[in-house]
Symmetry: C2
Subunit: 381 residues, 2 copies
């Protein structure tokens, strides 16, 4: 038995100074139930993914908050760094397939604006190796910069290719209601944007924002009653060594490779069958390496894949038609759910001006930190 | 299909100044695998419960840490306040029953010593309603003190009954290797201990310590190959309003009531059939109210149940033969797993001097905060 998604809701991704975590959960949940055409009383479990409500919002018991707000007994708090939202989808799928839940509400929420920029950088440094990396001053950006330099050196990846990732994702985001950064950028804009860690500039990096996404999930059998749905037909979870310096080849995402391999095996399809993918472009380089690790391009050829336009909306395998983390913004735990929402809209041909042509299979991918863990999910119509 | 526990490991519960979170995970996991007689290579998923590694230990990606340390792809971070460990057991059970996992390692870990007392009080205030309670100065202790006063007023519960909970649990803990507080206390000791929030004194309250517990879980079918095991035959999750002042009756644990009702329905047994129970005695009053909410005693008669010795090791329904949170110490996310370990030892008649006579069914219960959520699990031999 498989699990399916039958509806979604979301806040816009923004700096939501006027909203608290509860307000965002309320808005996304309400919209998700409406979209799925399911009354609240039929929801028997809620999975809420979040990274920093304890650190930022003084609340460590977010599933209790959801139970209180929604009146649902079975509530579960899910973590897992940037991948938290994707993990929540898998946890809900397990609950559904095991028979523990009939209809589940899966929420990913993050409120990052309450942190200043430096505090936010320190917070997300909790996704990397604490003793060996963060404590010695490494940040996600500096580690990804090292990875980028090595990728350029070994595989000839260019600044232009990095730029084209950001340019494409911003262009796609223009057409996405949820997205925080709905404007086009040029190579000139990127070059003028501040250097964070050579060669990565601000416009190569996804910004941490506020947002909440929710999907309604049930068994694929139950989902047949719903006119609009997508089926989760495969998934995989993978890991790599936490500390970048311990990895044999830092230009590779082993976690993604493992996760994708498992997902393809379960779905019984190959990378070539994927109609489009939502990848984890926290930094431009991570989209390029993800393209390689999943198998859309050969090792070292991810940059070229971008440059040749294969990742464009009308390309061979559109990557991040939603705008990705770069265009949408990255409210950590919300991102995995937002990717599933994009799969839902695209596979049901309701993505408007950013619609991919006749998609059949969607792949979503999140990594945590510098790729210590990864979740890959494959959806079909 | 059901899930079973086939082995366990644990650090001692202490102030582990010399150990980090990783050291504790390593020790408990190693012991769990040895106890289950399972090689690491057969473990295909790990569920790690934790509350405060982000706030205290600068690590928000604990499942990635576990994957790295253990070499396991499928790792999941589980939250949920004081109940986190219990939730992790349920998540693992779902994964096993759904077929997503064959043999899972379930870990609960907490390192609280790195916080001073005031910081620890502030940290656990994250389990209660942030806006309405914590921000206005309420703490877990002050809320439980209000609940205690009301219980005394309405049901005639006495100081002596509260004292007897602590005295019993300390006495049981003397015989438990894991326990942090292995000494007997008297009513005189309690009266001499500092008042935290009238009428609750230090010796009515469980202390937050450091500890890590792990269990190995698999399907009940697979577990038949293992000579020593227990089966998870029922469970329930329940919730109550997060803010105490919003509850209709603050002397009741609605979340526990719901969770227990569901667990008994699934297990197809009644409270009378339970041989012993591990309950959430974060404060003495919470053991008394839990006894009532589960149905071991009628509403308001929990104190009398204690006074009559029914909860004693040789009583009608021994409560907290392990020593409970009071005697063992309460390293938050480890506690739910520690309860399962006690169930494992008792049901397999390996609890030494604290052995309950011929137990058949064990019940474990954790609540989060002041009872906003609760998990009840029933195990059988």
């Amino acid at each position: 038995m498989n699990a399916s998604v039958i509806g979604f809701g979301s806040t816009k991704f923004r700096e939501h100074w006027e909203l608290g975590i509860k307000d965002m959960i309320r808005e996304a949940s309400k919209n998700a139930l409406k979209s799925a055409n399911v009354e609240l009383k039929y929801i028997d479990s809620v999975f809420v993914a979040n990274c920093f409500s304890s650190l930022i919002n003084g609340q460590n018991n977010l599933n209790a908050v959801c139970s209180d707000m929604l009146g649902i007994d079975n509530s579960f708090s899910v973590g897992g760094g940037d991948s938290s939202g994707s993990y929540a989808i898998l946890q809900a799928a397990n609950a559904i397939v095991s028979g523990a839940s009939k209809i589940a509400l899966v929420i990913g929420v993050e409120k990052m604006s309450d942190l200043g920029t430096n505090d936010a950088i320190e917070a997300v440094s909790q996704f990397i190796d604490h003793e060996n990396e963060a404590d010695n001053g490494a940040t996600l950006a500096s580690l990804f910069a090292m990875i980028t330099n090595k990728h350029m050196e070994e595989h000839g990846t260019t600044d232009k290719q990095l730029d084209m990732v950001s340019i494409k994702n911003h262009a796609n985001a223009v057409e996405n209601d949820i997205a925080q950064f709905r404007f086009n950028i040029t190579r000139d804009d990127i070059i003028k944007s501040p250097m964070i860690s050579t060669p990565l500039r601000v416009l190569h990096s996804a910004a941490y924002g506020d947002g909440c996404c929710a999907v309604v999930m049930c068994s694929s059998e139950e989902a047949k009653k719903h006119p609009i749905k997508i089926d989760l037909i495969g998934y995989g979870v993978g890991y790599d060594l936490l500390a970048v310096h311990e990895r044999e080849d830092i230009t590779n995402f082993n976690a993604v490779k493992t996760a994708a391999k498992k997902a393809f095996e379960k779905a019984k399809i190959k990378p070539e069958a994927i109609s489009f993918a939502e990848l984890h472009d926290a930094f431009s380089i991570s989209e390029i390496i993800s393209i390689e690790a999943i198998g859309f391009a050969k090792k070292g050829m991810g940059g070229k894949f971008i440059e040749e336009g294969k990742a464009n909306l009308n390309g061979k395998t559109p990557i991040n038609p939603s705008g990705g983390l770069k265009g949408c913004g990255h409210p950590l735990a919300a991102t995995g759910i937002r990717q599933a929402i994009e799969a839902f809209c695209q596979l049901n041909n309701s993505a408007g001006n950013r619609q991919v042509k006749n998609p059949k299979y969607a792949l979503t991918e999140t990594i945590s930190g510098t790729g210590a863990t990864a979740v890959v999910i494959i959806f079909s119509k």
